[in-house]
C-alpha cells in the first residue's frame, strides 16, 4: 500500500519543528526498508481474489504461511508447535506443505480461471519442494518437456503419493462421498515413485474441483426430479433425464479424437465444433426435456431410484470421460 507511505508527508507538514520531522522521516524509512508496502499489498490482493467469509482468519493464515515459507523450512509453522524450534521430520514437513497447498487451492473457485491457475501454480511449487533433489540441468525422465518448468526448488515433479493425497483431500472437502469419488481417483492417481508434471497436476486438481461441483449439481437435480411428490423419484424419470445428458455429451464430443487442429482447416474445425455444441445444447433445452420426461412416464420401467443410485449414475457419466493418467 503505497498510500501508507504517501500519507506520511501529509501528517508532517514542512513547518513542523525539526524533531518531529526527523521522526516521521525515519518512520517512513523504516517502513520502506521493511517492505511493509509490498507485504500489505500482496495480502490485500490475495484477499480480493479469495473473497473468504472470514477476513481476519484469512489474513492470519496468509501471514502464517508466509512466515513459515521464509524461514527455510525447518521451524514449525502455525499448524505445528509454535514454540518448537526442532526441525520437523520429513513426513510432518510434507504434511505441512500439503496443508498449505490445499489452503491455496481453496482460495479461488475453478471458474475464476486466472486466479485458480495462479493458485495451482503456487500449490505445485510448494509440493514440488518435497521431492527428491534433482541434478540441476539434467533432462527429465518423462517423455514430455513440462518437467523442466521448475528452475528453482527441488523436485522435477510432485511425488505421486502426495499428488494422490491432494486429490483425495480436494474431493472430500468438496463434499463428495468417498465411494462416489473412488472411481474418479482411480483414474487420476499416480504411484508414489512417479513424478507428476505440472500439466497433470493442474488437470487432476481441476477435475476434482469440477467433479465436486458436478456432484452437488447432481444432488440438486435429484431433488428437483423428486419435486412434485415427496418420495423417491421414479426410475423411468431419472433414467430419461440422465439419458438426455448422456446424449448431449455424446453429441458434443462427436469425433473427439480429432484434438489436433489441421492448420488449413482450423476455421472449418471451429465451425464443426460450434455446430456440435449447438446441437448438443438443443438436446437439453426445456422443451426437449419436457418431451423426454412425459415420454418416460408413459413408457419407462417401473419402480423408484434412490438418491445414492442417481448420484452414482450421474458420476459415472462424468468419470467415463476422464482420461486415465499414465
Amino acid at each position: 500500500m503505497a498510500d501508507k507511505d504517501k500519507r506520511r508527508p501529509g501528517l508532517a507538514p514542512p513547518s513542523m519543528p525539526e524533531g518531529k520531522a526527523t521522526k516521521s522521516d525515519s518512520d517512513r524509512e523504516f517502513l520502506s526498508q521493511a517492505g511493509v508496502g509490498e507485504l500489505l499489498r500482496g495480502a490485500i490482493l490475495k484477499m480480493v481474489e479469495a473473497r473468504s467469509d472470514d477476513p481476519i482468519g484469512f489474513l492470519a493464515d496468509h501471514f502464517c504461511n508466509l512466515s513459515s515459507m521464509t524461514e527455510s523450512g525447518s521451524a514449525g509453522g502455525c499448524d505445528a508447535e509454535p514454540l518448537s524450534n526442532a526441525p520437523l521430520s520429513a513426513g510432518a514437513q510434507e504434511q505441512q506443505h500439503l496443508n498449505r497447498a490445499l489452503w491455496h487451492l481453496r482460495l479461488a473457485h475453478h471458474s475464476q480461471r486466472s486466479a485458480f491457475s495462479n493458485n495451482v501454480r503456487v500449490a505445485y511449487d510448494l509440493l514440488n519442494l518435497t521431492g527428491p533433489q534433482r541434478h540441476p540441468g539434467e533432462a527429465p525422465e518423462g517423455p514430455d518437456g513440462s518437467c523442466t518448468e521448475s528452475p528453482t526448488g527441488g523436485g522435477g515433479g510432485v511425488r505421486g503419493g502426495l499428488y494422490s493425497q491432494t486429490l483425495e483431500c480436494l474431493c472430500s472437502e468438496g463434499g463428495v462421498p468417498a465411494s462416489t469419488s473412488a472411481p474418479l481417483l482411480r483414474r487420476l492417481h499416480c504411484q508414489d515413485h512417479e513424478a507428476v508434471p505440472y500439466d497433470i497436476f493442474r488437470h487432476g486438481v481441476l477435475t476434482c474441483a469440477v467433479f465436486s461441483d458436478y456432484i452437488r449439481q447432481a444432488q440438486r437435480l435429484y431433488a428437483e426430479v423428486c419435486c412434485p411428490d415427496n418420495g423417491p423419484a421414479s426410475r423411468a424419470l431419472c433414467l430419461a433425464v440422465l439419458g438426455t445428458l448422456k446424449e448431449a455429451l455424446e453429441t458434443s464430443q462427436g469425433c473427439d479424437a480429432n484434438c489436433c487442429v489441421n492448420a488449413n482447416n482450423s476455421c472449418l474445425e471451429a465451425n464443426v465444433k460450434a455446430i456440435r455444441y449447438l446441437k448438443a445444447s438443443a438436446n437439453i433445452s426445456p422443451c426437449k426435456l419436457a418431451q423426454a420426461m412425459s415420454g418416460a412416464q408413459l413408457r419407462g420401467p417401473g419402480g423408484d431410484m434412490d438418491a445414492k443410485e442417481f448420484e452414482n449414475a450421474a458420476a459415472e457419466l462424468f468419470i467415463t470421460r476422464v482420461k486415465v493418467v499414465s
Binding site: 475453478h110 517423455p143 428437483e224 419435486c227 455429451l249 445444447s281 419436457a290
Partner: protein
C-alpha cells in the same frame, strides 16, 4: 473486366464477369467481285469465339450499337459429350435495333439480349455469330461495339435447415406435464452438469508422468516393490 449485376432466381444479386472471348473483325458480305465492287451489301457478320475447350452457357449478350438496323444471332453448340458434333442454330432472328434504318433512332443505343429472348437454349455454346443488317445507304459503315457475353451461373441450392434447428422452432407443442418436475429447472441443472463435464474434457492434457531420477539412475527408495 466489365461486370453486370445478375438478379438470380433466388433473389440474390451477384456480380458476374463477362466471359473473355475473341471478337473477330467484322466481315462485310459483298456480291460479286470484292476488288471492283466496293459497295457494301448491307450485311455484316461478326464472329465471337469463346475460349477453346470451355463451352459456355450464355446468360446475356450485351453490346453497343453503331448504326446497325437489325441483328440475328446464331449459336454453334456442341453437345456435352466429347464426340457430339457442333451444330449451328438460330437463337434470334432479325432483332430490330433501329426503328427506321434511315434515321438516327436507336443508332447508338446499348442493348442486351437475355437467354429468355432466345429461341434456343444457349447452353454449351462454342461460338456466336452475329449477323448485322443495315439496308439504308445513309450510313457508310455499321457495326456493334463492346460486345460482351455473360455466362449463366447456377443458383445456389437452397440450404437445408438442420433437423435439430427445425425441432427447436416446433417447440410450441406442450406435452402433458401433470405431476412432472418443472422442465426449466431440470434443464438448467442438466445444462450446468453438461458444461462442467465439457470444462473437464477440454482441459485434458496429453502430458505423461515422469520418473524420479537421481544422478542418472533410479533412487532405490523410490522403486516400487509391486
Amino acid at each position: 473486366m466489365s461486370t453486370i449485376r445478375v438478379r438470380k432466381m433466388s433473389g440474390s444479386t451477384e456480380e458476374v464477369q463477362a466471359v473473355s472471348c475473341s471478337i473477330k473483325p467484322p466481315v462485310y458480305l459483298q456480291i460479286g467481285d470484292t476488288r471492283t465492287d466496293a459497295a457494301h451489301s448491307g450485311i455484316c457478320v461478326v464472329d465471337v469465339s469463346l475460349p477453346f475447350g470451355k463451352p459456355v452457357s450464355i446468360e446475356e449478350i450485351s453490346f453497343k450499337n453503331y448504326y446497325t438496323a437489325s441483328v440475328s444471332v446464331r449459336l454453334l453448340r456442341r453437345g456435352p459429350g466429347q464426340e457430339a458434333p457442333a451444330k449451328w442454330c438460330t437463337a434470334l432472328r432479325d432483332l430490330s435495333l433501329m426503328n427506321n434504318p434511315h434515321t438516327e433512332g436507336g443508332s447508338q443505343d446499348f442493348y442486351s439480349i437475355h437467354r429468355t429472348q432466345m429461341m434456343e437454349e444457349p447452353d454449351h455454346v462454342v461460338s456466336v455469330r452475329l449477323i448485322l443488317r443495315q439496308p439504308s445507304s445513309a450510313w457508310l459503315t455499321f457495326s456493334l461495339e463492346d460486345i460482351k457475353i455473360f455466362p449463366h451461373t447456377e443458383p445456389d441450392p437452397e440450404k437445408e435447415v438442420s433437423d435439430w434447428l427445425s425441432d427447436l422452432t416446433l417447440g410450441d407443442q406442450h406435452p402433458d406435464l401433470e405431476g412432472l418436475p418443472d422442465p426449466q429447472t431440470v434443464s438448467s441443472s442438466i445444462q450446468q452438469m453438461w458444461a462442467l463435464t465439457e470444462v473437464m474434457q477440454t482441459n485434458q492434457t496429453t502430458a505423461c508422468i515422469g520418473r524420479f531420477d537421481v544422478d542418472g539412475c533410479y533412487d532405490i527408495n523410490l522403486l516400487s516393490l509391486t
